[in-house]
Symmetry: D2
Subunit: 301 residues, 4 copies
């Protein structure tokens, strides 16, 4: 197996990839952007790509899903949660009192603001393209700063020393990543699955969104995430990026998808196990058994 | 073929039955009540029964449907509209100025109130169990009244003379009747059909009715008639008697029925041609073709 | 006070009227029909009218509400439940074995069918315009039947003897009546009220009814009764007769009514105490307090 | 007037700020992050802050709105659209064939991928914290790259030469910015307004989102944008970031907001003119006039 991922090496995205069984021994190719990581899958250069899926230090969910939906060849295979734990890394031998400049990605900088205010209030900030990039520049020895805010993984990979761990404002922060492969491989239902869809708004009027959501609610399908996105085709033209509970091989979800297909050109991006493993609560009247039983009853009429 | 109908002979119900092809030559048995007419079908004594289905001079829709739903053997086969036209009938030779008392059913009496106020303001009212009953009593010759308000049919059958036609307050009034047979005979779809259901309310809370209606609206199924009815099992326990556009052999209606079955114990009373012959308007996204196409799309995922 | 009611004297409707405090001593005028009873209120001849409101032995809910809504001068003031208890009444001295013919209203006849089958299977049925009418004819002494099925009240009033009590198929049957007065008198809220409305369907399309019900559901207003009724202005043109929980002086109901008024020409027929006295369950977020609090919050924005 | 904005100088955010009347002559303070820009308003150091509100080269809508909603002191005052036009900038005298390395923000890099593949397929990518940061490093003369992808504004400000204009994959891309001030200043309605809200999900079950959207749909309020966001308080706990058409001083929006307040703790972030100036289409039955008329009608009951 060969994997691509949003690089550079040592990012939280690589940490997510290392959760995939066998990935530690597999080829892992860093890509400069999410579209590039996906393109290598489309081109057959890699088998799957790990990319970030949430507004996090390294990317946004929508841009990622837009990139997957641009074409019909890709499917989400699994999702992965990675604890976002920041460390203050320095070159070996440097001590805290020597730190005058700190580099990291802008989002990471915002997320360690409280620790920095408390411990290094006088330090200067040097923006970097990624947390790993800041660490790399630091490790090369000619940077105009003495410390980098980065992941424990990259600090270890580059041989940097960690002066402080867990310096984020929010303890226990996690971010979400997805593994994306080529079409044709829908993972089997586990009872704890989610399904990702792209749903264009049929028309722009009060209630049009409700017609879409109604297709889910009528079948007892729970929403996990929804985000409206402009289509780029003018004011009032947008689509929805949606995650729902359940798997396409479950009857209620199959019915909802066919219902959506009748009113708009829904795009299916994948059914896959939830990273948190939480079983989906299914109301008795929307279970596969309820569907089977209704089908049988109908035949008797 | 043998038919039962709500009697006595000469009522509007018999006029409805005479609309059924072949009924004029068939056996027609008057029954003293709607339940009795239906019971003769259940017992196999007749093949079908004609009964009134609307609040009209001779009965109520709900009581009739309740009687059909009490058991699972009956199906509605067709509906029929009959113009409700009242005449003032007298024994041969009697003239208007001689009329001092008038008999008819209470509902009919209310419906001719304007004509009576204008032409016979001094007349006394003699209540009767049916319009035909009043005419029959008059024809026997010993009634304490000189005129009956009844249908043209019964006046003709009994040899009465008609002093005034069309004396109802509402010109062109029609009432609705249904032909009820035994289960197993669903008439083929015509494109202008309706379907009658009994739907218990799953629970009594704001929105529970909407959950039911949502099963129709989500599939673009239009409601024709709805009536809540107490179940007789205590306050807040009721069910709905519903007519919708369309035929059970159409995909959107089949889906709605199966959806209802999953949330409550819906009872199917029949799919049959509309008496008015008006084609059902089907939105493109809820046509049988849209359902087929969604099924095919789903298989490609 | 002067009252009209659907007569004749001795009906269950008069029994309902006797429940009204002071009615026993007041003038009570029987009217030949529901419209006539209401007309006497409109004309100022009586202060209020008691009329039946449910499909029962003596009338139908819809016809009654239609008659109230025909004009804007009337309001429902209260509702009343009356146990429907049938007796077999005969002239003094007649015994059961002498009964060969029985007279009563057609609906009542259906409701005592089981008792008659068991005890007088050979008897002939003589239709009558009302249960009280049958009893009256019997009491006059020249009827072609020996017994009448009627209410205990009328048997007592006419001096008939009761051979059997409680002979209805359904024990403990009750029926519902309403007291109707002139506009301007809305009874104060009691916490156990209902409100009766007439709501035209704005247009005939799937979902139009849901737009109406949504006005209630959004404000947590529970439906008690709903019935679609043809407007008489052509196929597909109809309105809804609706009872909801609550009083027009409660904020959520006031909001729902104003919302309905914006989309259709809703007619208000009255807010009045429920006959069963059952308190209306109000969800915390739809209480008057919740409305007040939202108004105050809004002012702070 | 004093303004803060997401810096550094020369970004598209500063270009947005320059659209504000008088801003060109006012004090404009660049801030290192969106939270920092907002904090200076909260602290009274500036009067308002311009920050990006869409997934764009310089930030994400959700993070920005989260930052505004963190506290109750801020209000959105206006929104602004800025054409996103990328140029390839070099130090004076450098020609295209000399460009071997290019620096820019990662999002911008993805957005110029097509031009780069066509014209500089061999070039190396140097990540930067912002497009302006890349240009600044280039202008200082010691960067390990020869070109920066940045805005026309920053190239001009820094005296860089533009080798190619409009090199983005999407022609005519625009991004959206908002001006945020302190509470107490709601701009007057213009007929072309939008309102931004933060709405927590009351509970996580199928249909809970529909209860929220229903508050809008019932009042004919159209949705512009919706995004679910995790609250950070565990799986299944999230809120919605929502833009709707209309102004809080319009009756239908006021009603929807009060309705939302009754079911959840909605947060109001501002009513302000739409950047595109497009008038909001108001259905007749949800106009201010319809609300007034319903209020008056209600008083007559």
């Amino acid at each position: 197996m060969k994997y691509s991922y949003l690089g550079p090496s040592g990012t939280f995205t690589e940490a997510a990839l290392l959760q995939v069984p066998g990935a530690r021994e597999a080829d892992r190719l860093p890509a400069p952007s999410v579209p590039a990581a996906l393109q290598s899958v489309r081109a057959g250069e890699t088998d799957a790509a790990m990319v970030p899926i949430e507004n996090s230090v390294e990317g946004g969910v929508s841009a990622t899903l837009d990139a997957i939906a641009a074409g019909d060849e890709l499917r989400i295979l699994s999702e992965h949660l990675v604890p976002i734990s920041f460390v203050l890394a320095v070159r070996p031998g440097v001590v805290l009192s020597e730190v005058r400049g700190i580099s990291t990605h802008g989002h990471a900088w915002a997320q360690v603001s409280e620790w920095v205010s408390a411990h290094l209030p006088e330090s200067d900030y040097f923006p970097a393209g990624s947390t790993a990039g800041a660490a790399l520049e630091l490790s090369r020895g000619e940077a105009p700063f003495e410390a980098a805010v980065c992941s424990p993984l990259v600090a270890e990979q580059l041989g940097l020393e960690v002066l402080a761990e867990n310096i984020g404002n929010v303890a226990d922060a996690v971010t979400r990543f997805i593994l994306v492969g080529r079409r044709g491989q829908i993972p089997a239902p586990t009872g704890a699955d989610k399904t990702t869809l792209v749903v264009p708004l049929p028309e722009d009027r009060p209630g049009a969104l409700m017609d879409i959501l109604d297709q889910f609610a009528t079948r007892g399908v729970n929403l996990n995430r929804i985000e409206s996105r402009p289509t780029g085709q003018g004011i009032g033209s947008y689509f929805f990026s949606i995650d729902v509970d359940g798997h396409i091989h479950e009857a209620r979800l199959a019915a909802a998808l066919r219902g959506l297909h009748r009113i708009t050109t829904v795009v299916f991006l994948g059914s896959y196990p939830r990273a948190d493993g939480l079983p989906v609560a299914v109301q008795p009247h929307t279970s596969d058994e309820a569907y089977r039983s209704a089908d049988e009853w109908f035949k008797t009429l």
